[in-house]
Symmetry: C3
Subunit: 143 residues, 3 copies
């Protein structure tokens, strides 16, 4: 088994930015040398998350609406008492959505469904520069 490590880096526009990573992940898998294996996508942050979503304009509004319904921005958060940075809701949302996703790799590509994209979700309350870590491991082709 071999492994390959690569980072993605991009700017976001603050809450709630949903970014489709599928094209980048396809490129990384293709260049990794791994034919069959696994891919970890991880955001080293406590105010963002990784999941999958059909990336289309309707759902890109529906997901933030659900987050606001379940974890409203304007209720009281203990996090604010010390930090006063207005992003208590961002942290709680991120703990529920989680920063990590492992996807199968087959034929040198992330083995996603037809309507399934891997997305990065910025939950923080201001624009940020973000880095996403991608680790691929598995068997190379020709074995």
């Amino acid at each position: 088994m071999i492994q390959h490590i690569e980072d993605l880096s991009f700017e976001t526009e603050g809450e709630v930015t949903i970014r489709d990573l599928s094209e980048d992940l396809g490129r990384i898998a293709g260049g990794s040398g791994v034919a069959t294996g696994q891919m970890l996508v991880f955001t080293p942050s406590s105010t963002s998350a990784i999941t999958t979503l059909e990336y289309e304009p309707g759902l890109v509004k529906d997901l933030p609406a659900a987050l606001e319904r379940l974890f409203p921005k304007d209720i009281e958060y203990g996090h604010e008492e010390m930090w006063h940075d207005g992003n208590g809701h961002s942290h709680v949302r991120a703990a529920f959505l989680k920063p990590s996703l492992v996807v199968p790799v087959r034929e040198g590509r992330p083995a996603l469904g037809t309507w399934q994209q891997v997305v990065f979700i910025d939950l923080d309350n201001k624009p940020r520069r973000r880095t996403v870590m991608v680790h691929v491991w598995g068997e190379p082709s020709g074995r």
Copy 2:
């Protein structure tokens, strides 16, 4: 380290079908040749999810009830404006529950708790034929 790949395939009855995968995963781990390692369980779909649950009749009703309370079927979803397929809630639920789970493998078996089963959850609003991808990697026995 070695790896082993296998798919599961089954019919579901639409929302919300919860299927216990534990027996299938035990069989796959046992036949994988891996004694100690890891197992990825992944649904390549944007309207289903993988998690763990004590699979008993009460919780099999409680989990759908919680989904309906948090992500009601009958509120407005932007997804409907273009697609009109009535499953906006299915997509949002799936993005929260996520399609991927990694479980430890020990002594050739998924190392789950006594009351803990790996479950597939079909969140779509109609019966579907589903495929679940299972990847096992780790050290073979005798090493």
Copy 3:
């Protein structure tokens, strides 16, 4: 690639105990021999979960408050009809938060963000003795 397996064991105080595992995970990664790779953190239980959180006193109250808002302890759960152990809400919460997290390892350490800690969350309604499984795999240093 090599792998290393280790367990953590500790007592909790019942719901909702949030325990910062970062120091333990740093020690395990450091002793694993893996320089670059991945780390699986898994709780073999249906009433606890693993995620990341900025571990500070405000959020340690905000996360249980969100859980109680979304999955109230005092509504009816089908789980109670047979089991009468008062922890239906614990099971449903655990199915949403999930028992598994995979984190990148770089330079022999979990590659977490500055304000991001890996936490164990006990969702059960009484104190418990818990075991968390940690699996590390990847390339050793010097390769």
